[in-house]
Amino acid sequence: MDSKFIRNFSIIAHIDHGKSTLADQLLLKSGTITEREFREQILDDLDIERSRGITVKARSVTINYKLNGQNYELNLIDTPGHVDFHYEVNRSLAACEGALLVVDAFQGVQAQTVANAYAAINVNLEIIPVVNKIDLPVIRVDEVLEEVENVLGLDASDALRVSAKTGMNIETVFEAIIKRIPPPAGNPNAPLKALVFDSKYDNYRGVVTYIRIVDGSVKPGDKIKFMRAGISSDVLEVGQFRPEMRACGGLGTGQVGYLLTGIKDLSLVTVGDTVTMAVGGTDQPLPGYLKPKQMVFCGMYPIDATGFETLREELQKLSMNDSSFSFVPETSDALGFGFRCGFLGLLHMEIVQQRLEGEQDMDLIQTAPNVTYEILTRDGQVRTIDNPQDVPDAGVIEEFREPIAHVSFIVPSENVGTIMQLCQDRRGIFKNTEFLGPQRAQIHYELPLSEIVYDMYDKLKSVTRGYGTMDYEVIGFLAADLVKMDILVKGVRVDALSTIVHRSTAERRGRSLVKRLKNEISKHQFEIAIQAAIGSRVIARETISALRKNVTSKCYGGDITRKRKLLQKQKEGKKRMKQFGEVEIPQKAFLTVLESNREDG
């Protein structure tokens, strides 16, 4: 296909502004999927079990569309919408010439709208503002467009107005993609140069490499080379996503699709690598990417020591499909042998955990997440601390440093005061405030990452009743007065519950934590004391009273299975608990350090 008739684009949006719905609608209107497949998505929204719908893995689809008698090939490259995944967003954008910036007609520009739009502006994409959800009864399109102009500096005069849900004005989207986004520029006669923008492992086909051809072309039988990895391989199959993988005779300049090679090891195919011909290829690779740093860590332990190898295998499998996730073995007095796992952020952690749970019935204990710290020792060494247990004696520490992030919030004007107070309480350094209009403001702060990980997101949501949004980026490490806080349950110290906290917040955190642990540890036949301590000084205490009622009186109708399963779960639950002295502590308790639950503020 002549690259004149190809358009490569992404859809970027703040979460829930309708990116997935718009993507589905484009697939529907172009006949790439059927009405039935489309309705399936929409219909399932009615049910309580609707999943969170966060696109984590960038995906791509090739769409055929005919405009004024001419066939076009449109490649939609999906991007994840969450703060944790800047890296994935950037690598997807690099494969495009344009982006649809979807903005909710009522909610307007939000923090991730800004972050994503800037990412697209940075790589010089043609950006088409799309105001979505115009079918809603209450919308404020003019204000929203003003925000797009004021905040993002984009020309909103020919912004599109659509409803992804009902399909209203979707034709205008196709037209804008074709008329406004430039076709790919590459040279079809130059040697092959293709960008690897994603990869995945498929049990039947081995590694699937997602590529965007920049120059030249590729077909089955070619001998190609991954330039950065320095490995060569034969091309076994070339194809496009429609949306299922469909083989084709070859991919030309500007096209997007996949390669199958003999490669079985996903770690050899790095995203951002350049593919060229093994012989007579280019010697100028495309600019690579900096791999994102993991900033959040937690421990994962099998309940049963025999599960260690299985867990290792599972983690291995996950990391094969997610290069931003890492793990190393570690041990805990309380939990035995396990792994310390690293994530880009909290959401990333949650998603990996869900996958682990989803993929097999592993009995796991996850410890509270923490960020990476640095310690400058008296003898002048800098140590990286991913685990509270590794904190050396206070006497050895010259300086305890924590990661600092630049955070930007977009909130309703009336919440500015409260948010600033929240940031102040969390040791934030105020940078500046911009008013985006009479009703909303953008606030910039520098905050310790640990405070963000701890509860900033929840707080923001509750203070602004869901209207506030935030985005952050780690900018460096700074010294702070940090201490290690321990937890004792009925006199026994549980090392996996230790956390690193700022001295000024230790007491508040300690109180809140023991309170939450109290809710997680079920009642026993006897009383249980839970204490928080710094060194030998107890700073908070709660008591769990003895069990008084345990009978489900709920109407299950004839669903005896469900009833039995609940009981069986209780029974299983008992097996999954860890015994500390006389007390059984459930897995979930190890996560409670994470949930701040608003009790402390």
Binding site: E40, L43, D44, L46, D47, I48, E49, D458, S462, K523, L547, R548, K549, N550, V551, T552, S553, K554, C555, G557, G558, D559, I560, T561, R562, K563, R564, L567, Q568, Q570, K571, E595, N597, R598, E599
Partner: protein, 415 residues
């Protein structure tokens, strides 16, 4: 059902069998004494409500009344397939028919008529049978009551939940206490067998409020009362609100007090306490529910509905949309199914029986399952008798008053 949609169905029985190590306890001949041939109960699920109450995780959709015609069409297909699979020759005789939801009476009179006419093609009620329908006080107008009467419904189960307007509001119910009272009175002209569901352990509900609710219920012409402790089910707004601290769960101690208060007041007013959550005037125990609790078979249809046929428990898909889609194409839509082996049947039977106040009749159990209770759960029985949670009463093993409050801790050891 002849289809297994759930691939785990075939293996689960073997794998999850708690006592797989000692299969010798059960022999073929012993289990074959269990007669499951005559199915005499049917449950139909109607998944529509005006609004989804914040605590409710039942299978239903709110604000999707446009799906009702599709639902009725899909139901017809599911019933037709049930009839074919079980070789119905004309309408089957049922001792009990139970139409639950959702809110079955959320359907318009004409849709209700359509529903009942459809059911008539497959089932008919035996003389003296029990025909129950669940209903909510709001919207239960005379036209709907007329349809119920015309089709032979003789028991109404009303989702009253409380006679305290604050509780009703918090529970997001769409009726007031006064409306509930008016509806009960109006229904009692037509139905002697009238039940109300009540909920305790509602955030903010005082013991006094709960007592008032119980007393109001007692003063009304009700023959049956169910009391349920509010639970916070995953996925519901209440679950999130409780976890975020916006809703305050009642403490164990309060819940215990409220439960005990319910038992005391209702028994004092002439209701028999016959199951953990259920109370009835003499002769008004819910026969349909007893089918469930006595391990007997039943048909079921509708999204999320659970059936028990030929030793297999299976539950329909809980997504309303998926169930409709599936059955409009005439393909079954099963969420999960499992074949119970002899031991699982016996253990499940014990679990259900112990939740009834009369408890487990040892002789009847051993006759039916051909194995002694002691062999299956001797250690647990001894431990809980010693702990004061179980006792023998004549030929029955039953929970003590304290045991009733810790019933889950006890029955879990029988599984």
């Amino acid at each position: 059902m002849t289809k297994h949609n759930d691939k785990s169905a075939d293996t689960s029985a073997a794998e999850s069998s708690p006592g797989a190590a000692e299969p010798s306890v059960f022999t073929q001949t012993q289990t074959s004494q269990v007669d499951e041939s005559g199915v005499t109960a049917v449950y139909i699920h109607v998944p529509f409500c005006l609004h989804r109450c914040g605590y409710c995780d039942f299978t239903l959709v709110a604000n999707q009344d446009d799906l009702i015609p599709d639902y009725l069409a899909a139901l017809k297909n599911e019933l037709e397939s049930t009839a074919a699979d079980h070789a119905f020759h004309g309408p089957q005789s049922m001792d009990t028919i139970f139409i639950g939801g959702g809110t079955p009476t959320h359907l318009s009179p004409s849709h209700l008529t359509e529903l009942f006419s459809l059911l008539q093609r497959y089932f008919h009620l035996t003389d003296g049978g029990e025909f129950s329908v669940e209903a909510n006080p709001d919207g239960l107008d005379d036209d709907r009551i007329r349809v119920l009467k015309d089709f032979g419904v003789n028991r109404l189960s009303l989702g009253v939940q409380s006679f305290d307007d604050d509780c009703l509001r918090l529970l997001e119910r769409r009726h007031s206490a006064a409306e509930a009272i008016e509806t009960i009175q109006r229904c009692s002209d037509e139905f002697d067998n009238l039940s109300a569901d009540l909920i305790y352990a509602v955030p903010g509900q005082s013991l006094r409020s709960w007592t008032t609710t119980l007393k109001s219920a007692i003063s009304l012409p009700l023959s049956h009362i169910s009391t349920y402790g509010l639970t916070y089910e995953q996925g519901t707004p209440f679950y999130r609100r409780a976890n975020s601290g916006e809703l305050r769960r009642q403490t164990d101690e309060t819940e215990r007090q409220q439960y005990l208060t319910g038992i005391g007041l209702l028994k004092g007013a002439g209701f028999e306490h016959y199951e953990v959550s259920n109370f009835a005037k003499n002769g008004f125990r819910c026969r349909h529910n007893q089918t469930y609790w006595q391990g007997r078979s039943y048909f079921a249809a509708g999204p999320g509905a659970a059936r028990y046929l030929n030793g297999r428990r299976s539950t329909n898909c809980r997504s309303v949309a998926r169930w409709i889609r599936s059955w409009s194409d005439n393909s079954p839509c099963i969420q999960e199914s499992e074949d119970l082996n002899a031991e699982e049947k016996a253990r499940e039977f014990m679990m259900l029986a112990l939740r009834m106040i009369d408890g487990l009749n040892i002789e009847a159990f051993e006759r039916r399952f051909g194995v002694s209770v002691r062999t299956l759960a001797g250690e647990a029985i001894q431990r809980h008798i010693a702990g004061g949670l179980l006792e023998y009463h004549g030929k029955n093993l039953r929970l003590t008053a304290e045991g009733l409050l810790l019933a889950d801790s006890v029955v879990v050891d029988f599984l």
